[in-house]
Amino acid sequence: MLLIKNGRVLDPASRTDAALDVLLDGERIAHVGSKLSAPAAEVLDASGLVVAPGFIDLHCHLREPGDESSETIATGTAAAASGGFTAVCPMPNTKPVNDNASLTRALIERAQAAGSVRVWPVGAASAGSKGEALAEIAAMKQAGIVAVSDDGRPIATAQLLRQVMDYCRSLDLPVIDHCEDTSLAAGTVMREGRQSVRLGLRGMPAAAESICVARDIQVAELTGCRLHIAHLSTRASLELIRAAKQRGLPVSCEVTPHHFTLSDEDVVYDARFKMNPPLGSREDRDALLAGLADGVVDAIATDHAPHEPAVKDVEFDSAPFGVTGFETALALALELLHAGRIPLARLVELFSTGPAQVLGMTRRIATGEPADLTLFSPEHAWTFRAAESASRSRNTPFDGRSFRGAPMATIVAGRVVFRR
């Protein structure tokens, strides 16, 4: 048994925000109340800490199998744990692609063996993510996938998307789409704008994303399937989601910390600033901040995309897309809290109940619920050093950044898997 004492329990589902103790028994929460005592329990003093429902990352890349020199399930989940995440959803673009039940099962088993955070795989929507035939979605669901996506690329055609969505509606699975018009995006390495023209780097117009978001929303309406837009990055896309939600369509979206923190003006000739979707304009960033605050955005997701230094330390054009994100996500979100952009309860929602809802799950701090908790300090001062990261990769634009606030303990199924 583990007794978490003196913390500030913040549970969006029950609108609780109070000084309470939480008693864990095995893999479940046994009791939530004030001034609990349990002589047999180990005590974790959470003075000054927020006790939140376990954080879920809807979007990451663990690179195993196929690119273990960039990340493995063991190193990736260790980095996730130190970022406060209790469950992560790895995208299927591994080598081979996760488009079948046996690979899905293998991923989950390896994560269990690694013993830190839960791994909830996202399965491929199409076989090999090639955009042709459907993947074995039902078998993957039985094996444990929580959603489907052809992430890294959009689901190729409206016709394929329609079939995937019809099918996933019957299976009660959300479809996650990486939205980009591939003809407008071809050959681009950053967002189109003053900075891309100045740097002479080929730019992707913001419309490349929203064109695809508009298509997807209409197919969601046609099929009634739940649609989740991955790493939404532009104002136009956000407005499409806002309008779709107002019409009652089953759509949701996530935003990454790098998109709400940086803009294309921050891009220099350093591939740590190269990711897809690219960093947007300042107006895009402002729109995302508004969406995070007002509820149009459902979740903060990292799109943790590790790449070993050898492939990332090259000229900008040649570098692969992606940045790591597990360990800085909460601290970057806390920058928004300290800047008065979002309240604490909303921040917690974006990391816990928000993503849970996207997956059709709930997250609560209540008796009988899974003992998955994230304990964080909104004040703890620290500096992120990529060289000390638990991830196998170092490709982050936030190396050396000083933060106010950090994850302090990550508890999965009643077990402390990370402690700062």
């Binding site: 023209v197 740097l199 090259v314 900008f316 054009d317």
Partner: protein, 329 residues
């Protein structure tokens, strides 16, 4: 000191004073090109590495000749012959070159920012000889030298740039450089090569107009820079060359819209009958061959400033005296 810079990666970070200083330094080297004996000993014992990761003839020969006339040795790397084809990274390739201890690296690469990326990782000065669609600073410097010689000043000129501005590193370097002297720009070409953002990449306060009608763009022009039409652009549907000629070829009739003493510059390679009518290319207003000669002078001045050990202060001229020229032989 205003002329101190470690690398030459672009004209954007240079000040007007630094540019003027560089052009002044090029003067004596211009004179050298007219001597019967052109070789100096100024950089004797120094080595200039030339790394061209993209095909280039004139810029590479110009740098090689500039180095030779200063008495420096050169190391030559050309992409076709290099280990790049075998999958070696850019960084490993230049580190290998660097281990042979050159005193500076002159580099051309098809990726924008590649010289910047390399410069942050090497100890020696790096000269950008053209990177992707970003900058080509020595081209802009030799253009400026040519314009200043003919016009007597760079201040407040009306400059028209014709062609594929979006993909032109020459256009960018010229915008940054001439913009610092208060030049007003008319950028002219097919609309898809004239993104709106071009108006705001120059120095603060610079005046940049985008014009799709060539006659309007040429009106009142003191200087016309004609760009090559790049037919090798990827990811883009090609524009018919006949369309380009129809709307944008610089012909003698169109040239009459500019001021009568307007200069015509072209960075080369020039395709007669495409972007420029042969009558204009060979006409009295054309500066094309002068540009090539001035390219040597500018590159000699730059190499001298970056790796020459001689005079430290700006007041002392690097002027290759006649004695020095003689001493080299």
């Amino acid at each position: 000191m205003p002329h101190r810079f470690r690398h030459m990666l672009g004209t954007e970070p240079l000040t007007a004073e630094q540019i003027t200083f560089l052009l002044d330094q090029a003067k004596p080297f211009q004179e050298i090109q007219q001597h019967p004996l052109k070789k100096l000993a100024t950089l004797r014992g120094k080595t200039v590495a030339l790394a061209f990761f993209e095909p280039s003839t004139r810029t590479r020969i110009s740098f090689a000749t500039a180095a030779a006339r200063l008495g420096a040795d050169t190391m030559n790397l050309q992409a076709e012959a290099s280990s790049l084809r075998k999958g070696e990274s850019l960084l490993d390739t230049v580190r290998t070159l660097d281990a042979m201890k050159p005193d500076c690296l002159v580099m051309r690469h098809s990726a924008s920012g590649a010289p910047d990326f390399v410069a942050r990782r090497l100890e020696i000065p790096v000269i950008n000889a053209g990177d992707g669609t970003h900058e080509h600073p020595t081209q802009a410097l030799l253009d400026a030298l040519t314009i200043r010689d003919r016009k007597g000043t760079l201040e407040g000129l009306n400059v028209t740039i014709l062609g594929d501005i979006l993909h032109s590193r020459v256009a960018r370097s010229n915008l940054h450089l001439l913009g610092k002297f208060g030049c007003r720009f008319a950028l002219c070409g097919p609309a898809m090569w004239l993104p709106r953002e071009l108006e705001c990449i120059g120095p603060p306060g610079s005046s940049v107009r985008r014009v799709t009608h060539i006659e309007e763009a040429l009106e009142g022009a003191d200087v016309i820079i004609v760009l090559r039409v790049q037919q090798e652009r990827q990811h883009e549907p090609a524009l018919s060359l006949d369309e380009y000629i129809l709307l944008y070829q610089l012909t003698p009739e169109r040239l009459r819209c500019a001021r009568p003493d307007a200069l015509v510059l072209h960075p080369g390679p020039m395709i007669r009958g495409l972007e420029i009518d042969p009558a204009v290319a060979d006409g009295p207003q054309s500066c094309v061959l002068e540009q090539v000669t001035n390219g040597l002078a500018v590159r000699m001045a730059l190499l001298f400033l970056l790796i020459g050990t001689a005079p430290e202060s700006a007041s002392e001229s690097p002027a290759p005296s006649k004695d020095a020229a003689d001493a080299a032989h």
